[in-house]
Amino acid sequence: MNVNREAAPRPEEPPNPLSLLRQLVRVEALFVVVLVLVAVASFSERRPERSDVNGPASAKLDEPPPRRLPMEGAPGLLVARDEPPTPETSARVAVAPDEEATERAGAPALAGSVDSPRRLQASLATVVGRVRTTLGARPAKRASVELSVWRAGAPFEAPPELLLVRTDTDGNFRAQVGAGELRAIAWTEASTGAPTLLTLAPGETGELELVLAPAAPVGGRVLDPAGRPVAGAAISFWTHAERDVVHTATDGTFLHPRFPAGELLQQVRVTADGFGATVRYLDVDEDGSWELAPRAAGEAPLRGTDAPWLELVLVPELAVTGRLASSTGAPPVVADVRAEGYVHVLPDVASLDAASVRVARDGSFRIEGLRSDVSHALFVEATGFARLALEVPAFPDVVEFHVVEVGTLQLEPETSVVGVVIDGEGRPVVDIAVELELRATDEASAHSSDGLDAGVRFESRTLATRTDGAGTFVIDGLTADAWTLRVRRDRDALLERELELVPGEARRDLVLALPVEALVLIGEVHDATGAVAGAEVALKRFGDVTSVVTDELGRFRIAGLDAEAAYEVVARGPARDGGSPARAHSLVWGWDRPTLRLSD
C-alpha cells in the first residue's frame, strides 16, 4: 500500500490574514506588494479570496474532463427547429393538468423513463409566476414562458430540459419542472424580457415575476456561400431564448419580432440543413441604432439606425465518417465519438462547434452538422478501450456539403486507476477532485487558426473525476503512459503522485492521504427540534466548491480546505410538504466548527 502522508504540523492558530500576499510576493514586483500591504491594512477585516473554483455541488458527480464540452446542436434546439414556438403553434402541444399549454423538450425523465413515478415526483419542483408589462404593469395575457432547467449533477455537456408554458388571462403560470437551476424568459408578439434565474430543490415551490418590455424587430436574409437564398433556416437569439425561433421564407428572408433591445449584446444563431451553425453578435440600442459585431480583427462592423437588416452567409456542413475496431478487428460494444471545434464570433471570443454520435454495432460512425471552415478535434470513448483523439482539418474552400472519411481507427486496451482519498485522520474524503495529467508532451500539435478558425484545443491530456460518498474514485479509459495524479479541493493541488501505467493494467491500490495541514470543516445542522439528518450542505467560494449531506446525527465533514480564505456554507433541510425547505447560511473558515440553524 502506497500512502503519501505529509508530516507537516497542523497549525495551532488561524493563519495570518496577510498570508495570501506572501504568495503574491513570489510572483509580483516588490513595489506592488508594498502598495497592496497598504491596501490590506486599510481593509484588515477582509481576507482575500481566490478566483478559481472546482466542480459542481454534488457528491458522486464526475467532473467532466476538459475535453468534454457542451454540444451546440442540443436536442432542445433540434425540437425547436421542427416546431417554432410561436404563439400560433405552441397551442398544439400537450396540455398538462395545471398548465394551459405546455411543451417539453430534452426532458427524458419527464417524458417516460425507467424512473418510478415516486422517484420521478421526488426529483420535481414547482414554479409559479406572473408576467406583466412595463407599461402600466398590466398582466401579460397568453404570454409564452420558456423554462430551461439544468438538473443538479448533470454532466457539463448536458442540454437543458426545456418547457414552454403559456400564461392565463391574468398573466399567471404554474408548472412542474425538474429540480435544479432554472432560467425563465417570457415573450408576447412584440415584447420580451430579461431572463430570471432560480434554483429549485426537489419538492420546492419557487415564485417568479417576469417583466416584459417592447422588443426590436430584426429582419434579414440568409444566403449560401454562392449568394443564393436559403429557405427554412432557423434564426434565434439563443443567448436570450432557446425556443423563440423563426424560419426563413423561400427567398431566404426572415423577420424575428423580438430582439431584447437596449440591454445586452446577444448571439444570433442560424442553422439550416446542409450548413454549419452560424453565430453573430447583435446589439440593438433603445434608440433603434444597431451594430452587428465583427467576428475577426480587421473585419468592419455593420451598423444602422433603421430596423436591423442582417445578411447572414452560411458555410457548408461537414460530416465525418469512420469505423472503430479493436486489434482483432472486432467493433466495440459501446462507443461514442465527439467532434469539437471553435469558431470566432468576436475577435477575442470563440464559440463551440460540436456534435457527437453513438457508434453503430458494426463500429461505423457518422457525425454531421459541423462547420466545414474550422478544424475539429475528434474524441473517441469506447467501453474497455483507451480514449483516442485525432485532428480533422478545416476545409475552407468547399462550397457544398462535405464528407471526410477518417478510415478505421484502432482501439487499444484501456488501463484504469482506482483509489481512495483520506484526510489526515484517515477518514474518507467525499466529493474531492482527482485529476490525471498525461506527462508526455508530444500530443499537443500545431493547429491552423486562419479565418474564423479559433484553433483552440483543450488539452486532452488531463482527465478528472470526483470521489464518491466513500472517498473512492475510478478513472478508466487511460492509455498506457506516464501520468501525474493530483487531488484538488479548491485551486491548488493538495497532493501529487506519479504513475506509470502498462497496457491493460488496472491499478486498484491507490490510497491518497491529504496532508495534515489541509483543513477539515466539521459542523452540524440543527432546527428547532434538534439535529437534522439528510440536510444538504453546500460549500461555496466564487461558486460551488462541494456539497455533502448530513449524517443521522446532523453532522457534516468537508476535508481539504484552504486555510487562507473564508467559505460560504449554505444548509438546506429536507423537502417539506406544502413548503420550501428551511435554510441556513454562514461564512466560515476551514478551522471553524459551525452549527447551522435552519429557519424558514
Partner: protein, 80 residues
Amino acid sequence: MKIIRLIVAIAVIATMGLTTHAEQHQCHNASGCTATTTSNGKPKIVVFRRGDIVNTSSGWIVNPKNGWRKIQTSTQPTEL
C-alpha cells in the same frame, strides 16, 4: 483617509494589471455568463453561452462569480 483609499485603489488596479495576463476563460454557467468589454469608450455587457471562450488579453473583464473558469488550451493565448 481619502489618500489611503486612493492608494488602495491604485494598488488594486496595479495588482490586477500584473496578475491578469492574457488568459482564456470558459463559460461554465448552465444558463450562460456575462462579460464586459469597452466599445467606443462605453462599457458593453455581452451574453455568452456555456462553453464559449474569451481571451482577456484585449480587455475583456470576466468574473468567476458569473461562471467563468480559467482554462488551459493547446494554443497560445494571443491566437484566440
